[in-house]
Point group: C2
Chain length 636, copies 2
């Protein structure tokens, strides 16, 4: 059997190299899920794979493949899995690139987390203490701290509130006790007996729309639970600005916003603890990240000055407070900390993404893009980093889009069009009939509509396009393109279309992001092609198709394989900080060092933005690959 | 006139040197209050003064003076003010020793406080901060801390809870703000504008029976108010042991004791603030002292292990906590601290007394005695200090004494007897008819009864003493000595007598103290006469007559002028700590360095105690001066 195996990387899954089978079929047999929308017809070009061994056992490249693959891709050995067919027996090894892996995105949701040495701020030390006798009349605190110093070389202060517990804790288990230390300098707990195997922490990513909490075992470093819920501040305002306005214009507005998010975090903590049979009081530290406004509201810091120039945050440095200060229901003498912010609109979440991306340590220039209502971008390398924030708006979360929705069941998440066949194929989350379209779907749709000539470079829907029944006048009197016609097919089912207004929303959003990208590149004196890597973070950044994002001019024009999906990297960074004081030290250093560029202060901001409104850009030479593809499409 | 002036030191008061006048008369004319009980008859010997200039203008020493003064006293130029008479015109300078100054004791009640350089833990810095602009987009915290470092060379962390206040405080008075620092390392407050002249602190001495609070202006160092009230823990137990028992045997016993004392402190703070038109929120720091049990209860630390061997305190080191931890109503981000303890029965109050006495810095060996229900003794010099605690009981506070009372109006505070005239003279607090007898009165009484042969060296009342009407059988069938017979004279008036049981109580109390004194002297390899000084602290220690205390064998046999009254030195030490971090550093160092001797562990404790029960002592050679006086009295 050993001479007839097809192996898929990086998963290592394998199956028999059956002659006549297509690679896509073998992948399905091996349990490897490869992206494909056109049903294996060789037209959508999504199922690219790299043949790393045994390419002579496959069919030769056909015309479909030559249409879908760039010259560079062909040179590096890429094939379409639905077209490459096994022609002779033998071993084949196939590498499935990130961009072709279906399901990868879901795996990425909890974020990629570099392995780091475990050095949590919270540690425990077991002590056997000589009992108090008439020959040794030292006070309990002296006795304890001297033993701690002798056993663990730690000189600690006893935290307020702990003194009360010492006398009984020492004597309850015959002078065997476990002390809990914060940063090996503050004694924040003492338990009778040995509790050194019980150190739990929680990392929280407070997003504008969603709060995610991770429960970590800080003895092993393992994440032992993840829970999330919508940010309960949403009723106070969907985006950050409207919440800041609420805080400014309502009595106790800030207090209400704070209570809302603290309540959600407490609920998540309870749920996480219930899942593993622990109590919230077992949680010794919580680290939160969030954008600067979420950070300020979490800690009850007035966010109002974030709303107007110069958008100065009240607090940049990392914070550590007592849980009771905030009403966080964990061990009352534990700690609630944050990562530092960088600027008013580049917050602790961006620092966390930076931390988990590793960009700060790269030799070559890269870029981290965390797309949200505000999109934070950090560019550079170990030699220096600059950052900015772009008001990209909520379109990518489905807001302000006619049939927009979040990436939930039934949301169109992939769109592919065949200009010659006038065919439109969509894929939905969980493969159920379409209920609407989410961010990655709308980006695909705009990209495909542009590629197929349905919209012009200025974004205008072309009424003369010949897509029978798909281009029509909407209720607003403007044209719209019907992706899915299913009116009256069943309850809750409806047409899903992309309107002229939707296209414009996407143009505004992508122009905002690209203006940030291009400004940072200009500051660094670089061109797009100089970027060795883009770390695409956040849910949308992970789900969006890299090629589509480049095609519409949202991401700079670089080979799509240079785009790495890092998932909820903010959550990853928060977990890293929880697990490692070294990561925190690094975060503090990064937050000080990353230069912040206020885009609105840049002289050419307006003109750059206006040019970026075009698909992919007013200056086509900035998107040579896209320009070439448009040329090819026009030629056909 | 300049050649006819009599000047009294150390007050500097003066009057005309009138020929034929007695010094005691001139003192009264000059407003100098000199002790005298016998009405100027030259017999009580209390009005000793030193003639430091112009002694040739006074009458020669007469027999009365020779009877009352020791040879040493005569050699050093002491006279009796009621006997020394001006015989010729001219300048005279008279020094009134502490022991002869009446009213000095009341002045001393608030304690002697060495002048120390002002360096409170709480300080304020006025900052003019460059406003945030698009050219200078630093975060508020960076902006503030960088300015603080530039202006005051302070690298501070922002305390939890203060971040919230920064943005508005900076902007309210156009970027002029005052920051409040704790130990120049923690930023605990920020106010708009200039508030640098407003720094208030409170020092509290939590005594077993009384709580005294001092309001200090920490800009000037002045004490601007003093208030006291009974310790509301008294209903839970009169002495420390019974309160510890209450804490051990009642649910929430400790919490109730803590709430009681915290409530009293809060009430005192409100009163102090009301008096000067301030609010408790203006108080930025509170420093408490108290014995170890009071300290533990104040901070909610279980005191139960103080009740049994080896009497280890839970906490020796100084503490600093947030006011909210304890429910202390001051500035919520301020601090509530304590001085350190030394041992289970040598507490922060003893450290405070040590601090204010200056004993730790003396070249020569001295001793500090702080008499209370527990009496703390510290002996040594700058070369080293040792300490112990004596269970002296509450007799000196009037408890367990038949007609005992606190040193309130009507309490007999001085007693003098004339053996030849069978005369008894008493003085009461506020010079009203006697209502009872306080500690200093009963010590005087026992001393005089012993000197006059009414009681034997073993303390037994001698039924054969010929004091007509004064020695009688009491209701318990035992003898008692009537100091004041006033039965039926008026409502509330009654005889005041000293019973056999009273004498025994005083013997027990003084034996406890002297056992401590002699044990420490033995440890130091010294005799009583080697002591250069005794600092007598506390209310009783200040009021008691030094000669009487030596005569009964409570204090070691040293010249009475070596006994210095330091009043409520615990309160003084607390105020010093409030005013100076250097004083706190010193206190921490002292508490570490002062060796503690557990008397009960000493082999010869029982025999030493038994010998000390005698008046003045079983081994008379330890009290040579007293022995000589007894001999002289017996000769007469």
């Amino acid at each position: 059997m050993a001479d007839k195996i097809t192996r898929f990387q990086p998963s290592g899954s394998r199956t028999v190299s059956r002659v006549d089978a297509f690679v896509l079929d073998l992948a399905r047999e091996a349990g490897v899920s490869i992206e494909s929308i056109c049903g294996g017809s060789g037209r959508c070009g999504k199922c690219k794979v790299a043949i790393t061994a045994g390419e002579q056992r496959l069919s030769r490249m056909n015309d479909n493949e030559r249409m879908s693959l760039s010259e560079e891709e062909m040179e590096t050995g890429l094939r379409l899995a639905c077209q490459a067919q096994v022609v002779s027996e033998g071993d084949i090894t196939i590498d499935v690139p990130e961009g072709s892996r279906r399901g990868l995105h879901r795996l990425l949701a909890s974020g990629i987390e570099p392995a780091i040495p475990l050095s949590p701020a919270i540690s425990k030390v077991l002590l056997k203490i000589p009992p108090a006798t008439l020959k040794d009349i030292r006070a309990d605190d002296d006795r304890l701290l001297e033993m701690l110093n002798a056993e663990a070389a730690v000189m600690a202060n006893i935290a307020p509130g702990i003194h009360q517990r010492i006398p009984n804790a020492l004597r309850e288990k015959s002078w065997v006790a476990t002390v809990t230390l914060y940063r090996k300098e503050e004694l924040i707990g003492i338990d009778p007996g040995d509790t050194t195997k019980e150190i739990l922490g929680v990392a929280v990513d407070v997003g504008t729309t969603k709060v995610v909490a991770y429960l970590l075992d800080l003895v092993t470093g393992d994440t032992i639970g993840t829970e999330s819920k919508p940010n309960p501040q949403i009723p106070f305002g969907e985006d950050v600005m409207s919440r800041i306005t609420y805080a400014m214009t309502n009595d106790d507005g800030l207090a209400k916003l704070q209570q809302a998010v603290i309540g959600a975090v407490n609920a998540l903590i309870r749920q996480l603890c219930d899942n593993v049979g622990k109590s919230p009081i077992d949680i010794l530290e919580l680290i939160m990240v969030g954008n600067t406004a979420m950070h300020h509201m979490f800690f009850g810091i007035p966010p109002i000055h974030l709303a107007s120039a110069p958008y100065a945050p009240a607090v940049r440095k990392s914070i550590s407070v007592e849980p009771n200060h905030l009403g966080i229901d964990i061990y009352p003498f534990g700690k609630v900390g944050s990562l530092p912010n960088i600027a008013g609109f580049v917050g602790a979440d961006a620092v966390a993404v930076l931390l988990s991306s590793g960009l700060y340590d790269d030799d070559k220039i890269g870029m981290m893009i965390d797309i949200g209502t505000n999109t934070e971008i950090i560019a550079g390398s170990r030699d220096g980093l600059i950052s900015c924030s772009c008001a990209s708006g909520p379109a990518f979360e489905g807001a302000h889009i006619k049939h927009g929705m979040r990436a939930a069941t039934g949301a169109i998440e992939r769109v592919w069009m065949d200009a010659s066949e006038k065919d439109v194929r969509v894929r939905t989350v969980d493969d159920v009939p379409p209920r609407g379209i989410c961010g990655s779907g709308i980006v695909d749709a705009v990209s495909e509509m542009f590629r197929c000539g349905i919209i012009s470079a200025s974004g205008k829907i072309n009424s003369s396009s010949e897509w029978p029944g798909r281009i029509r006048e909407g209720p607003d009197g403007k044209l719209e393109f019907v992706l899915v016609a299913q009116e009256g097919k069943g309850e809750g089912e409806r047409d899903v279309s992309v309107t002229q207004h939707d296209v414009q929303e996407i143009q505004l959003a992508k122009a905002a992001i690209f203006t940030g990208v291009s400004t940072l590149l200009r500051k660094l004196g670089l061109r797009s092609s100089d970027l060795s890597c883009i770390y695409a973070a956040g849910a949308f950044g992970t789900y969006v198709d890299a090629s589509s994002a480049i095609s519409i001019g949202m991401y700079p024009d670089i080979p799509p394989e240079r785009i790495r999906f890092v998932g909820n990297a903010a959550g990853s960074g928060a977990r890293m900080a929880l697990k490692s004081v070294e990561a925190r030290r690094l975060a503090d250093e990064l937050s000080r060092k990353v230069e912040y560029i206020e885009l609105a202060s840049e002289e050419d901001f307006q003109s750059e933005f206006a040019k970026a409104m075009f698909l992919p850009h007013r200056e086509l030479d900035r998107f040579p690959t896209v320009a070439r593809a448009i040329g090819q499409a026009a030629d056909r």
